[in-house]
């Protein structure tokens, strides 16, 4: 087999040091990495296992009311943490719409940020891919592109970031706490993932050895809790990546939007914060017309990267629907099919 070193780090410093070597990769649950290794998509020569690092599996409420979520917290544990889910319900809804129960039970929150695109040309080692092999070209261009990007793509890469969780997080100004040789730093999630440009192999701002140790949700973002929803359109009812997804969070005052947040998933190589739409929403009266204007604003720059123009129209409609669901209010209980168009509830547009 492809030989690689396995290092079980006992401290963050040890992990950072061990992973600073070229070709090293962090291993947490491995729900994505092991598949990539088995498929010959990535071939790290050193795995630094971080699952034994102390204290990274905690969900902490900070004195200012915000949350610090350890990098190793399992997706399921975060989604079902009642205090967290009450403060950031759209994040819980996004988490529960991802993957399958078995995967959510294993996968970590930092791993969710670090998962790779599901572009089939990235997964197929026989295809040219600038992510796998910089300069090789992008064979997805002109290929099977139904699910590829409509925002922020380049000639060098038209892949999308597959996460649901990140979409809800980026709407709520989440930050990433990163440990490195020089101590820790914090980066907004919006700035964490990079668009492809001419170097799609650089997927995040992490430098060699840097390790995500926690996510931070600001206290101020909990003010959206009463009007926060996530919606995900997919090709089957569960266990599928988003065709398009949206996270919408609103702060309301007597039918008027004080502040709105909107982010999209499945559309770009990063979770896409739609700030142009937020400008439209700020201070405006709730109406379907407003939501359409917001959707149009969010998609001004959208263009198909192949046979996927439908995703632009779908995103437009999904934004309208998700904003309407958010305006109608966060349901008291998590719907039976989280984030689904079939979520059983009575507060949709057509009620």
């Amino acid at each position: 087999m492809n030989r690689f070193d396995y290092v079980r780090a006992q401290t963050v410093a040890e992990a950072v040091s061990a992973a600073s070597e070229p070709g090293a990769a962090y291993l947490a649950a491995g729900t994505n990495l092991l598949d990539l290794m088995k498929g010959g998509v990535t071939r790290p020569n050193r795995l630094v296992d971080v699952t034994h690092l102390p204290d990274l599996d905690r969900i902490e409420r900070l004195p200012d009311g915000g949350f610090r979520v350890g990098a190793l917290v399992r997706n399921s544990d975060l989604a079902y943490d009642p205090t967290f889910a009450k403060a950031y319900p759209s994040v819980a809804e996004a988490l529960l719409s991802g993957a399958s129960a078995q995967l959510r039970n294993a996968a970590t929150v930092a791993g969710n940020l670090m998962q790779r695109t599901r572009c089939p040309y990235f997964y197929d080692p026989a295809s040219a891919c600038n992510k796998r092999e910089p300069g090789a070209g992008c064979e997805a261009r002109g290929g099977e592109t139904r699910l590829h990007a409509i925002l922020g793509w380049s000639e060098h890469c038209i892949a999308t970031h597959p996460s649901d969780f990140c979409v809800s997080l980026v709407a709520l100004d989440a930050e990433v706490e990163i440990a490195g040789h020089e101590g820790t730093r914090k980066v907004s999630l919006d700035a964490f993932h990079r668009l492809p440009g001419d170097a799609p192999q650089h997927e995040s701002v992490l430098t060699p050895g840097e390790l995500i140790v926690a996510l931070h949700l600001p206290a101020a973002s909990a003010a959206f809790a009463d009007h926060s929803r996530y919606m995900k359109i997919r090709d089957r009812t569960s266990y599928a990546f988003a065709v398009v997804s949206a996270a919408a969070s609103l702060r309301l005052d007597h039918g008027r939007i004080v502040e709105g947040r909107l982010a999209l998933g499945g559309v770009a190589l990063k979770p896409w914060r739609a700030r142009e739409a937020e400008v439209v929403l700020a201070g405006a009266e709730i109406s379907e017309t407003l939501f359409r204007q917001a959707a149009d604003a969010a998609l001004v720059a959208a263009k198909p990267s192949g046979d996927n123009a439908f995703k632009i129209e779908l995103a437009r409609r999904l934004i309208v629907r998700t904003l309407a669901r958010a305006a109608a209010g966060t349901p008291a209980r998590m719907p039976a099919l989280p984030a689904s168009a079939f979520a059983s509830e009575k507060d949709t547009l057509h009620a």
Binding site: R118, Y239, L314
Partner: protein, 747 residues
């Protein structure tokens, strides 16, 4: 031989009892030994290297690098592959499919095996295969139905006629008051049994033992005997359990044979298991189709013409044509019929039988076309189907051996609540405003019979043995066939030793064509009857037996005793009869086979009606099948629990066909781009919230002595069309290209 105990208490005679599957306990506890679970002493691991190109030749393999990898024992390529006794590219009969067995460097499809690496560990073999780093001479592949001029196949499916017509179709169309013409497309689909193709092969001189999942152990034996030039008697194929087959394990595939060749090359036992993506090429698939349907009806809604043409793809190098038009020969009472096929050759693996081959694709198109015709006539789609009910088989005018389709329509409609359907598209909504659609489809699958043999024995202790090389693919053969065997011998199940799943038992035929229970069951029934006849002779000719002189009235068997028909107070146990005759046991063989006279006189099919409800988000296009009700009539029900389970599985496959399955092929390379179960979608539980199957009573005195028709495939037919029709009813959008995905509904 697996140790299958009877977990279930018995209640009366076995046939008709809803016994749980006898192998269930073994399966949920991990005790069931599947092929890849075998690990003989000294076993090595073999891993395939497969082609990344679809057409051309392998120009170079870095064999030295692979051989140098620690743990690698051998690399099998065309240079050193064991010589075969027969050309695997020879086509001696329509059911011998050409195999790619490293006889040359030619590449005919993506994922074709190009080398096998054999190593001490799976990991070493896997890395060795990676190190081969093949280089190719690549030619542009031909992919898709428009890539070549269509030709007319010699035959379609399992030797079916390419064309069958009745009357003057053009006159039938010309004389119609209403006509529709529509083109429907279905994509390539791959079987994707949960258990990949796997083999553990061991040679001992010229004796060969293989553990491999097989739907046809005798055929596999004969194929191996031919390829390796050895006596079939020297080959043992063991296949007690399959993790699904769906047709892809009917014929021995190339990779399975390569496992045997690898074992010969290294002279040690070898295990070879396909990776999921390697199942998208060398083990068959359901070919894409483009079906053109032209229908005509008179003013009242009676069909005047049904023209069904299928264009489908086969491989560059072999012949299998999805017989999608064939179903239209049997179903609706059109006075003029035309059912034809044409094919194009493409650079893919050879398509093969896949659950309801032809019927599934054909039904998806036909049932949608029937709906379009009904709408054109202004007739309710269920009523239209009932109006065009065939009282005799349309293509042949033969009477049906039995046909309870009318009851299926009635019972299914009643259970579903069809009478509450509002006719106009987009006219039904749920309380959340989602569009609701109701659709119906007729299900049909031919009631086939294959050939099988069985042996039955009654022993001095009163117990019975029934042996047959039958196949349990998960459908429940261990249970259903044992129920038939117990009843056949007049024993309780716990007095029966039922042996199966191995090629050294009598030839159980093929688990395919939904004919296994009927065929193997008939063989068992015949063998048991022959044993009882011998036992009866012993008793009734013995003046010391209470059955002496039973004569023409005869005897029957129950609970280990023979009983006089004309006087049930007179009986004798099997044990006493054998003891007095001084016999340790008696045995007999029996056969199951089609009855040519009955098949000449009667058309034999199972039927059903499937009702589907879909919910569609009006803006987002997201679709969910919220309810499925299927009513099926398929002769005698051997085990209602297993039969219901088969119908569920078939109907869920129909959901899959209508909404999910789609092998996405990049036409530039010929590679399937979603060769994994993450991206090649099949339904998950959330896609099937409510499913019901109604077992409609049907007695068939002609199909076989037990009156059994098949249930394994019929559930797909009808369902895919019913869902497509429900989507149309919900949305007003007629999607004619499957799968029906949300982008096709956005408008």
């Amino acid at each position: 031989m697996p140790d299958i105990a009877y977990e279930q208490a018995r209640h009366g005679s076995s046939i008709g009892q809803p016994l749980t599957r006898r192998d269930g306990f073994l399966k949920v506890t991990g005790g069931a030994t599947f092929a890849a679970d075998n690990r003989p002493e000294g076993m090595l691991h073999a891993v395939l290297a497969v082609s990344r190109i679809a057409k051309g030749r392998v120009a170079h393999l870095d064999v030295a690098a692979a051989e140098a990898h620690p743990g690698v024992v051998a690399v099998m390529t065309p240079q050193n592959a064991p010589k075969l006794a027969a050309d695997p590219d020879a086509k001696n009969d329509p059911f011998t499919f050409r195999l790619d067995l490293l006889q040359n460097d030619r590449v005919r499809y993506a994922h074709q095996p190009i080398a096998v690496v054999i190593a001490e560990t799976l990991e070493a073999a896997t890395e060795g295969a990676e190190l081969l780093a093949p280089r190719y001479e690549t030619e542009a592949p031909r992919i898709g139905l428009d890539t070549a001029e269509p030709h007319k196949p010699q035959a379609v499916g399992a030797g079916d006629k390419t064309a069958a017509t009745k009357g003057d179709i053009e006159a039938g169309l010309a004389g119609a008051a209403r006509r529709i013409e529509a083109v429907y497309e279905t994509p390539a689909q791959y079987h994707n049994a949960m258990e990949p193709h796997a083999i553990v092969a061991q040679w001992d001189g010229d004796r060969l033992t293989v553990d491999t999942p097989s739907q046809g152990m005798t055929m596999a034996t004969m194929r191996l005997a031919g390829l390796f030039g050895i006596d079939p008697k020297n080959i043992l194929v063991r296949s007690p359990f399959l993790g699904g087959g769906f047709g892809s394990k009917g014929f021995l595939s190339g990779p399975q044979v390569l496992g045997v060749m690898a074992a010969k090359l290294v002279d040690r036992p070898v295990k070879l298991v396909l990776r999921r993506e390697q199942m998208f090429g060398p083990v068959g698939h359901r070919a894409e189709t483009r079906q053109t349907l032209r229908l005509g009806a008179d003013g009242s809604g009676a069909l005047t013409a049904l023209d069904h043409h299928t264009l489908t793809a086969t491989s560059s190098h072999d012949d299998f044509y999805e017989p999608a038009s064939a179903l239209s020969r049997y179903l609706y009472a059109a006075p003029t019929l035309s059912t034809t096929h044409s094919g194009v050759r493409v650079d893919t693996g050879t398509p093969l039988f896949m659950r309801a081959p032809g019927e599934a694709s054909g039904s998806a198109a036909l049932e949608a076309a029937i709906d379009e015709m009904a709408e054109a006539c202004g007739v309710d789609p269920l009523v239209f189907r009932q109006m065009n009910y065939a009282e005799a088989e349309p293509i042949s005018d033969r009477p049906f051996s039995s046909k309870a389709l009318r009851e299926c329509y009635e019972q299914g409609a009643a259970r579903f609540g069809w009478e509450r359907r509002s006719a106009a598209p987009r006219s039904m909504r749920d309380e959340a405003g989602r569009l609701i659609g109701w659709g119906v489809g007729t299900a049909l699958f031919p009631a086939l019979m294959m050939q099988a043999e069985a042996r039955a024995e009654i022993r001095a202790d009163g117990s019975g043995v029934v042996a047959i090389g039958a196949h349990d693919m998960g459908q429940g053969a261990w249970t259903a066939l044992a129920q038939i065997a117990a009843d056949g011998l007049g024993l309780d199940l716990d007095q029966l030793d039922f042996r199966s799943g191995s090629s050294d038992l009598p030839n159980g035929g093929i688990a395919g064509g939904s004919a296994h229970t009927a065929t193997a069951g008939s063989a068992i029934h015949a063998a048991a009857a022959a044993v009882l006849a011998q036992l009866s002779d012993l008793a009734t000719n013995d003046e010391n037996s209470p059955l002496f002189g039973a004569g023409n009235a005869g005897v029957y068997a129950s609970k280990g005793r023979l009983i006089r028909r004309d006087d049930e107070s007179r009986s004798e146990s099997f044990t006493d009869i054998l003891a007095r005759a001084g016999r340790a046991s008696i045995s007999a063989s029996g056969k199951g086979a089609p009855d040519p006279a009955a098949r000449e006189s009667y058309a034999m099919h199972a039927h059903g009606a499937v009702f589907a409800e879909v919910s569609v988000d009006p803006d987002l296009g997201q679709i969910r099948v919220t309810r499925l009700v299927g009513a099926f009539a398929a002769g005698r029900v051997v085990n209602p629990r297993l039969v219901t389970s088969q119908y569920y599985g078939g109907m869920i496959w129909g959901v899959s066909f209508a909404l999910h399955e789609n092998a996405v092929v990049d036409p530039r390379t010929g590679r399937v781009m979603n060769p994994n179960l993450g991206e090649y979608h099949v339904p998950v539980n959330a896609d099937v919230p409510s499913i019901e199957a109604i077992l409609v009573e049907e007695n068939d005195p002609h199909v076989n002595p037990l009156g059994i028709k098949g249930v394994g495939e019929i559930g797909i037919t009808g369902t895919a069309g019913a869902i497509a029709n429900a989507v149309y009813h919900a949305t007003g959008v007629r999607v004619r290209k499957m799968p029906i995905t949300l982008d096709k509904l956005l408008g």
